[in-house]
């Protein structure tokens, strides 16, 4: 009995920590959707690109040291911000005002490009390590153990949640961004530079993706498979609501825990793979009954 309880608790803890790391990636998605109404189907590829930038920089400079990690993170952030700015400018701005299908397809195309790039560049297709100066030994919390990298992911994720909640609630820019999200024309009439805020939203998504890329890349190793993490973003954001920062975190927690429980309890019966499957079933149920998620804003359509 006690052993079973311990098993359940360890599943819950690992699920929750992985879930918060999903939330970090989902946050990039939510930030863009919230401000610009654009769907980023390439979020996983963003994370992959950031991880490549981090891994290659760390390998080229100081290796697995604190200096290396700092340089790697800074370069990853710089690369992602530049990339997001460029993307917004070249691809997404011409698509403003076009059907939502166009933006979805453009990001799917972008995802294909990013996934195809590593094997044809000189960096090659083989998996690269992304060493951070932290130990590999699991930390014992008393009731469960957790790898340090996951703990780091949880801390970064919660920090981002705090920062972005504050940003949207209190800062001048955040309020302006909410205004842009709410009604672009009115925001424009109030003297807000809408295009600039679109670019800023993409840049923020780039920063979050860079942090997510460093952490996920360090945990799983850097190759094109890393982009598959992006597939987990959709259940997370649908559960939480596409435009809610807090929803991303809670959706992430739910997805992580469901995944971990499914893997722990169902896998022995159906022969594996429930981990990738359960969140999507949950998501379909959510879409049927509450399509705008737990915290998402309802859209009222007018002709």
């Amino acid at each position: 009995m006690l052993e079973e309880l311990g098993f359940a608790i360890s599943l819950l803890v690992s699920g929750a920590s992985i879930g918060l790391m999903y939330a970090l990636i989902a946050l990039g998605f939510v930030l863009v959707y919230k401000a610009t109404d654009a769907i980023n189907f390439a979020q996983g590829e963003f994370v992959m690109l950031a991880a490549y930038a981090g891994a290659l920089t760390i390998a080229a400079t100081f290796g697995a040291s604190i200096a290396g990690a700092v340089v790697g993170i800074l370069v990853a952030i710089a690369v992602m911000v530049a990339f997001s700015f460029g993307l917004e400018r070249i691809v997404l701005r011409p698509l403003l005002g076009r059907p939502v299908v166009a933006v979805i397809m453009a990001t799917i195309g972008l995802a294909a490009i990013l996934r195809g790039l590593p094997p044809i560049t000189p960096f090659g297709a083989q998996t690269k390590p992304l060493p951070l100066p932290i130990s590999d030994l699991p930390i014992d919390l008393g009731f469960a153990t957790i790898p340090p990298i996951q703990l780091l992911g949880v801390i970064v994720s919660l920090l981002c949640l705090g920062v972005f909640t504050w940003f949207f609630m209190k800062s001048r820019m955040g309020v302006a961004m909410r205004a842009v999200a709410d009604n672009q024309q009115v925001a424009m009439a109030m003297g807000i530079n809408v295009e600039r805020y679109f670019a800023i939203a993409w840049a923020m998504a780039g920063i979050v993706s860079a942090l997510g890329g460093i952490i996920w890349g360090s945990m799983l190793g850097v190759d094109t498979q890393l982009a598959l993490v992006g597939l987990k973003v959709f259940p997370v954001v649908i559960l939480g609501g596409l435009d809610s920062v807090a929803g991303a975190v809670i959706g992430g927690l739910i997805v992580g825990i469901v995944e971990s429980l499914a893997a722990g309890y169902l896998d022995p019966y159906v022969g594996g793979g429930t981990k990738d499957f359960a969140p999507y079933v949950l998501m379909i149920i959510m879409l049927m009954f509450k399509p705008y998620g737990m915290f998402g804003k309802r859209k009222i359509e007018r002709i």
């Binding site: 769907i39 189907f41 691809v91 011409p94 698509l95 076009r98 059907p99 939502v100 299908v101 166009a102 979805i104 397809m105 453009a106 799917i108 195309g109 972008l110 995802a111 294909a112 490009i113 990013l114 996934r115 195809g116 790039l117 590593p118 094997p119 044809i120 297709a125 597939l231 959709f234 259940p235 649908i238 596409l242 159906v270 022969g271 793979g273 990738d276 499957f277 999507y280 079933v281 998501m283 379909i284 879409l287 049927m288 399509p291 359509e301 002709i303």
Partner: protein
Amino acid sequence: MFHREAGNFKTTYDSDMALFPLPLAKWAAGFFLLVFTLIVPFSMHEYYLSVFIQIFIAIVGALGLNILVGYTGQISIGHAAFMSVGAYTAANLAVKLGLPFWLTLPAGGLMAAFIGAIVGIPSLRIKGTYLAIATLASQLIIEWIINHTPAISGGAAASIEVPRPSLFGYQLKSPRELYYFTLFFVVIAIVCTMNLVRSRIGRAFVAIRDQDIAAEIIGINIFRYKLLAFAISSFYAGVCGVLYTYYYSIANYEAFQIVVSIDYLAMIIIGGLGSVLGTILGAIFVTALPYAIREAVNLVGGYIWDTAALSAVAASMKLVIFGALIIFFLVVEPEGLARLWRNIRNYFRVWPFSY
């Protein structure tokens, strides 16, 4: 198709909506039919015939997707999953019950249509982004179910070997015979689609695409037509999957993964959303391009990449070029190759007296 407008006055709705508005269009269609039935199969090498077969199969699937995305405006990222439903249905019927292809083919299509209609149910409440994500989920869920149900997938490798189709006791084996087999179905698919989109159903689809609330107000039953669009589109996908299965004589889920869904989306976007001609052009382009890329990579790739990695390089190159083309067409020419063709045609229509 080709136009000469002088002296062509339409006095009835029937003539305005005719399948071939001009005699020239009829001749052109006849010409192409002649080329593809008599000249191509006897003048081409078998290697090129196999490319043609794949193009034909792709046209069937892409037409289905274009009915859904291009005409009805409901995005689907799960098209390949419906193909796999058709493929596995037909494969199981053909192997376990020994049914001939003229029964398994519609059965595969109907099964896919049924599953497609179920997947389409959420489209009544959600649209755009949410629908895209829902269809993505159905792609992953269908893939997982097929893969984890030995009764459907036929065991560990999730693949079923299927005998080639036989007609009146004669088994179609050579590429030329399979060429005619697929050509027959692609002609049917094209004619059906052209007729569908100019019918009452097709116009209801277009009304839903343009503004679904307005369509509902003018009396179109949204519930019925959205589900119908999903069912019809999935029927085409199912038939496409069955044709793949018979052509490769194996049903394997790896041929129907999410990448394939994206290939089909690329076909209709590059070709032109809401255009039958565009679908055909897009299917030709997207199916033939990997062959061209592979040739090019094999030709010059040895100087740049490791020779052992060339096939992986060609696959990645395909992804990059497809992605770039999707973005290029979306940004620069949203109406795709069909629009380019129309521009060329309009230029030559009054050429050389364009003023």
